[in-house]
């Protein structure tokens, strides 16, 4: 042990003991400046919100009184058939919430990697599949919240572990659920870790990434979650045979592992494709999913 200590003393002595004084003070100044800027930005945001509000209000008032806008206002208030200013999708309350607890899950061909455990990427990842589902649903007039939180970064920065991913991903989900009681479906989109022959199917000559619906066995909301997952599975079966591999319930002995599915009835994990699939194959699957989701939502509203 004495020997190790000597070795380390020698190593310590061999390196510069400290940074230059100039560096130390200039870095401190730089950090102080950045911190001030961050503080200021927070305040500016607040101030600008208030002043923009005041400006808009004064413009409106001057329009009403100086430019004879009064007539317009009265007529639009009395006219109930005024077409909506915003597009319908924007004005609607959201019905679907999409998020990604394991946001870095990726497809090997997209990132030129080989091993199952390498199928992770900071940019080319499952978030893009969620985005595609979001836009496909919006095209069908369904308002969606697509949460693109970079869960892995929050985990690193807070010094949490990978197992804490669900704790992080539920934070925004919880907020949005409280804000929008209209949400009826919550999809946590993942990528399966199986190989190509177990995750790919050819329908009408085109290759699709297969989909699996995964539920936690925690009792809260289980029946409703299962009912919706089964409905989507059946809907897919009708038009896209074998695209869905069905509904799987993970029987965890620890019933506190809920995958956040206890927060809202209509929640599930959706696994789209495995490590060897491509975005193209997953996007096809997403289109099919969007079709089925649209049908179910329409049925419910009648």
């Amino acid at each position: 042990m004495q020997n190790d200590k000597e070795l380390f003393d020698q190593i310590k002595q061999s390196f510069p003991y400290q940074p230059t004084n100039e560096f130390v003070s200039s870095t401190e100044n730089r950090l102080r400046k950045l911190a001030r800027k961050m503080d200021r930005n927070r305040k500016v945001k607040r101030v600008s919100l208030i002043s923009t509000g005041a400006l808009v209000f004064s413009m409106f008032m001057s329009w009403v009184f100086l430019f004879d806008g009064k007539q317009e206002v009265i007529s639009s208030l009395t006219n109930h058939n005024t077409p909506p200013v915003l597009s319908e999708t924007e004005e609607q309350e959201p019905l679907v919430y999409i998020y990604h607890t394991h946001n870095m899950e990726s497809y090997l061909p997209e990132i030129n990697k080989k091993g199952i455990d390498q199928a992770w990427d900071e940019v080319k990842n499952i978030t893009q599949v969620g985005e595609k589902l979001g836009s496909s649903l919006k095209e069908r007039g369904i308002h969606v919240i697509h949460d693109q939180t970079k869960v892995h970064e929050i985990i690193e920065d807070r010094g949490l572990r990978f197992e804490d991913s669900y704790k992080v991903s539920r934070e925004r989900l919880n907020q949005e659920l409280q804000r929008h009681s209209s949400i009826q479906m919550v999809f946590d989109i993942h990528r399966d870790s199986l190989r190509r022959n177990q995750t790919t199917v050819t329908i009408n000559g085109k290759e699709y990434a297969q989909v699996t619906f995964v539920l936690s066995n925690s009792p809260e909301n289980y029946e409703k979650n299962h009912k919706l997952a089964e409905a989507i599975h059946q809907g897919l079966l009708e038009s896209y045979p074998q695209l869905s591999k069905g509904v799987v319930t993970k029987s965890k002995s620890d019933k506190t592992i809920t995958y956040n599915q206890e927060l809202k009835a209509g929640s599930m994990i959706v696994e789209i494709g495995g490590v060897d699939n491509t975005f193209e194959e997953s996007f096809r699957t997403v289109e099919a999913l969007a079709d089925v989701i649209e049908k179910i939502l329409k049925k419910q509203s009648h």
Partner: protein, 179 residues
């Protein structure tokens, strides 16, 4: 130390408290004063940017070192085979040619040490420096590197052996010292 209402004072006191430790880790890791300074600055900028997300019940120093280790490994990947080696280690090696005198013998040992460390794999290098130079406990090192304590022990042991082999510290010597 972390006060979100006053970022400026928080970051300044955190910086003053930890910059030396962080710098020592990075200078051993990179072998270059300039790179270590650049990386030290990067570390504290990242700390500042993420301070509002930091869970105050956790170990602040371990968190800062997790960031330092990330910065070191990122930089290592970016600069692999280029400047770290050329500017840092090999420049010092050149002085070896100039001939024997006491000062240069020192310089030789120094460059041997630097070369030996630079030849360790990045994860081994991090373990050796955190345990040996920064004197973190096994538990803290595991927290910083986000791995098990067993892995820290095993990697540290291997890295140390590797280092000694490279520096030609043989077990016989250890044996004779022990007598």
């Amino acid at each position: 130390m972390v006060d979100l209402d006053n970022l400026e004072d928080s970051i300044s006191s955190i910086y003053k408290h930890y910059y030396l430790d962080v710098f020592r880790f990075l200078v051993c890791f990179s072998g270059s004063q300039q790179d270590a300074e650049d990386m030290t600055q990067e570390v504290f900028i990242r700390v500042l940017n993420n301070l509002k997300n930091f869970d105050c019940t956790r170990n602040l120093k371990a968190w800062i070192f997790t960031i330092a280790r990330n910065v070191a490994v990122d930089t290592y990947r970016r600069k692999r085979f280029t400047s770290i080696f050329k500017e840092g280690f090999f420049k010092k090696l050149e002085s070896k040619e100039k001939g024997p005198n006491e000062k240069l013998e020192d310089a030789e040992t120094v460059s041997q040490i630097h070369l030996a460390i630079s030849n360790l794999k990045p994860q081994f290098r991090a373990v050796v420096i955190l345990r040996g130079i920064n004197e973190f406990s096994i538990k803290e090192t595991a927290e910083i590197l986000k791995c098990s304590e067993t892995k820290v022990k095993v990697n540290y042991h291997r890295a140390l052996q590797d280092l000694k082999k490279k520096l030609h510290i043989h077990s016989e010597e250890v044996f004779s010292n022990a007598k």
